[in-house]
Amino acid sequence: MEQNKKTRIVVGMSGGVDSSVTALLLKEQGYDVVGIFMKNWDDTDESGFCTATQDYEDVAAVAEQIGIPYYSVNFEKEYWDKVFEYFLEEHRQGRTPNPDVMCNKEIKFKAFLNYALTLGADYVATGHYAQVVRDNNNVVHLLRGVDANKDQTYFLNQLSQDQLQKAMFPLGAMSKSEVRKIAQDAHLQTANKKDSTGICFIGERDFKEFLMNYLPAQPGKMMTFDGKEMGHHDGLMYYTIGQRRGLGIGGTQNSNDPWFVVGKDLSQNILYVGQGYHNEHLYATKLTAEKISFTHDIKKGTTFKAQAQFRYRQKPVNVTVILNDGQTEAEVYFDEPARAVTPGQSIVLYDENECLGGGTITAAYQEDQQLQYI
């Protein structure tokens, strides 16, 4: 306790229950805690309402309750340049981006971390459900959060060892319900606040409408791979591989199976659809990935076996990874065919509970045949 007093921890506080409890726990452990609200996005509407204002009010109330200083720091420019531009560019390329992964890599554990260091921080802490464990060689390992349902290592896969050296995730060993209980017992203002959903800068708004403000929608044909026209799509960027909702196609004479997005052709602006959850075009035996990054020097060589997730909250599957010489790109072979491998999303590698790192999916293959996903 007494020792902790000399350790300054800057907590990224969003105004939600998780980061509120993060700050509370650290304060209770005697650390020198400073709360910072990251203002990443200006969503002020015509009436002057801005959700960030309410969130900051919540940060202020909680910080006062806990007894820590708190500030708001503007990262709008960094967020726009590093996360939002990437988000738009990926959509332009017909891929499905993961802004949360980019936000952790570029904002929370880069811009924010650097800022915190200038304030004399020894560590930064966030309310992520993940664990960091330091071994005898002073290497920090990123482990899954104990609450399997909340584990957020998928979104943290791009963090480097340098970044992890400075990170603390006090909620990693807890379940969401425990966190809520702690917040309620401490009567924190945010104890019963609803969890935020969706992409932070879009929030509760309609995704299509939001994206339309930034990227021109190019409607086009909706077809089957057999060449049958099935109607029109509103713009390829609004659809993701394996998506069922929003296609507006009913059953046909042959089958009542629902319809799914099974492919895209960006150059011809065609959205491919097919029937059945297990449609053959949705299954891949291999994927390729770029921007591979590891959480530490995993010393596994260029070919190794691992478990992998290619989307959040998915049951991990067994894979074989083959890295290129620079270890920046990978081919990942699935033991069993995998459904709806989506370019732009992260492929994250695990060794049991440890997150080894990951990369961005560039393409999916059925044996040697590339699937028409972009």
């Binding site: 007894g67 200083p69 500030y71 503007n74 304030l119 004399g120």
Partner: protein, 379 residues
């Protein structure tokens, strides 16, 4: 949590601590004089007496008549009343208004509303030293100009504006002259008759008085309607039960200021000199925004080329030192100062790298020394 004895307050332009004599007067009023000044009975009469006494004291301080003082909830209400009501009262004559680009938001926002209603507003820029070019101002005045609102002292840099010259020029024309004197009232000797001011806004909490009280000086014979509607308080100029404890506190603050003004100003001059000396002595890379010879002594705006103001503010706060920078925008983060923007242009590095240091009666030489010591570590 904060060790108050070790903390250093250098944000007097935001608000001052209250003088103990003010607190005592207010407490006594709250305890003993709770009557409504509009009531006919003895409780009312007693409160009314205190109210009118305060009005007289405040009026004398700026060479106004007691009936020319309307007590309000503070500078913002006074500014809003003067501008919105003043413009509407004169709108049959014309719809052009002149102000500066460096006014407080309490002036700029009502003007924005008037623009939406069809009024035309000229925003005079200031020069690189923060000063207003009087010739430039004269050229902006037109046949259809009905209102001029120009602050007496800028709140971020401390620049003193040529109010007397402007007043003299406008007095020969049928144009309302309002000045936001929130930062000037106290440290500067203001004579509304000599300066030919029609409307003047002032506040108590910048001169060791309480928050939530101020006044609008409205020259006799100027007819503008009341902003707040309701009872007949303040000679029907401002409805709402008078906040007597605050008004009595305001009066005491004025008395206290009157008795100590010269001394306070000298103290501020000394501290400012010491601050500049220490900054140079510690070889800190800094520049002064503005022109000290044209500024009130208790405000100084400093540019630190290597340091983001927001970061500097937080680092200082973590060392228990309070200064300010620009103004808070949504969700508490700092937006670039519109004052420095007018002085140095949109692209200037100074916009995001400057802080305002403001000192007062309780600031000590040791405070300044310690402040610069901490700055040295940070910058």
């Amino acid at each position: 949590m904060i060790n108050m004895t070790a903390s250093i307050y250098l944000d007097y332009a935001a608000t001052t601590p209250m003088d103990i004599s003010v607190i005592e007067k207010m407490t006594d009023t709250m305890r003993n004089h709770y009557g409504n000044a509009s009531s006919i009975h003895q409780y009312g009469r007693n409160s009314k007496k205190l109210l009118e006494h305060a009005r007289k004291t405040v009026a004398e301080y700026i060479n106004a008549l007691p009936e020319e003082i309307i007590f309000t909830s503070g500078g913002t209400e006074s500014d809003n009343t003067a501008i919105l009501m003043g413009a509407h009262a004169r709108s049959d004559r014309g719809r052009h208004i002149i102000t500066t680009a460096v006014e407080h938001e309490a002036v700029l926002k009502p003007l924005k509303r008037l623009e939406a209603e069809g009024f035309e507003v000229t925003y005079l820029p200031v020069g690189i030293t923060g000063e207003l070019d009087f010739e430039h101002f004269k050229e902006a005045v037109r046949q259809d100009t009905i209102l001029v609102s120009i602050m007496s002292v800028n709140n971020e840099v401390g620049t003193i504006f040529p109010i007397e010259k402007i007043g003299a020029f406008l007095s020969e024309r049928d144009i309302l002259f309002h000045t936001d004197a929130v930062q000037a009232f106290g440290p500067l000797k203001i004579d509304v008759k000599k300066a030919k001011i029609d409307l003047l806004s002032a506040s108590a909490h910048k001169i060791y008085g309480p928050k939530g009280v101020g006044f609008l000086y409205k020259r006799k014979n100027i007819a503008i309607p009341s902003f707040m509607l309701g009872g007949n308080q303040e000679r029907k100029q401002r409805a709402g039960t008078e906040n007597l404890p605050a008004i009595v506190g305001f009066e005491q603050a004025v008395c206290h200021m009157k008795a100590n003004r010269a001394q306070f100003n000298q103290h501020a001059v000394n501290l400012r000199e010491q601050l500049i000396y220490e900054l140079n002595h510690q070889a800190i890379n800094f520049q002064i925004n503005g022109n000290l010879s044209q500024q009130v002594p208790h405000i100084i705006n400093l540019y630190f080329p290597n340091k983001l103001a927001e970061q500097l503010l937080i680092q200082l706060d973590l060392k228990q030192i309070a200064v300010s920078a620009g103004s808070a925008c949504t969700a508490g983060s700092i937006k670039p100062s519109h004052v420095l923007q007018s002085m140095y242009g949109d692209q200037s590095d100074r916009l995001m790298h400057s802080i305002r240091v403001s000192m007062g009666a309780f600031t000590t030489e040791k405070d300044i020394k310690d402040f610069v010591k901490v700055l040295k570590e940070i910058v």
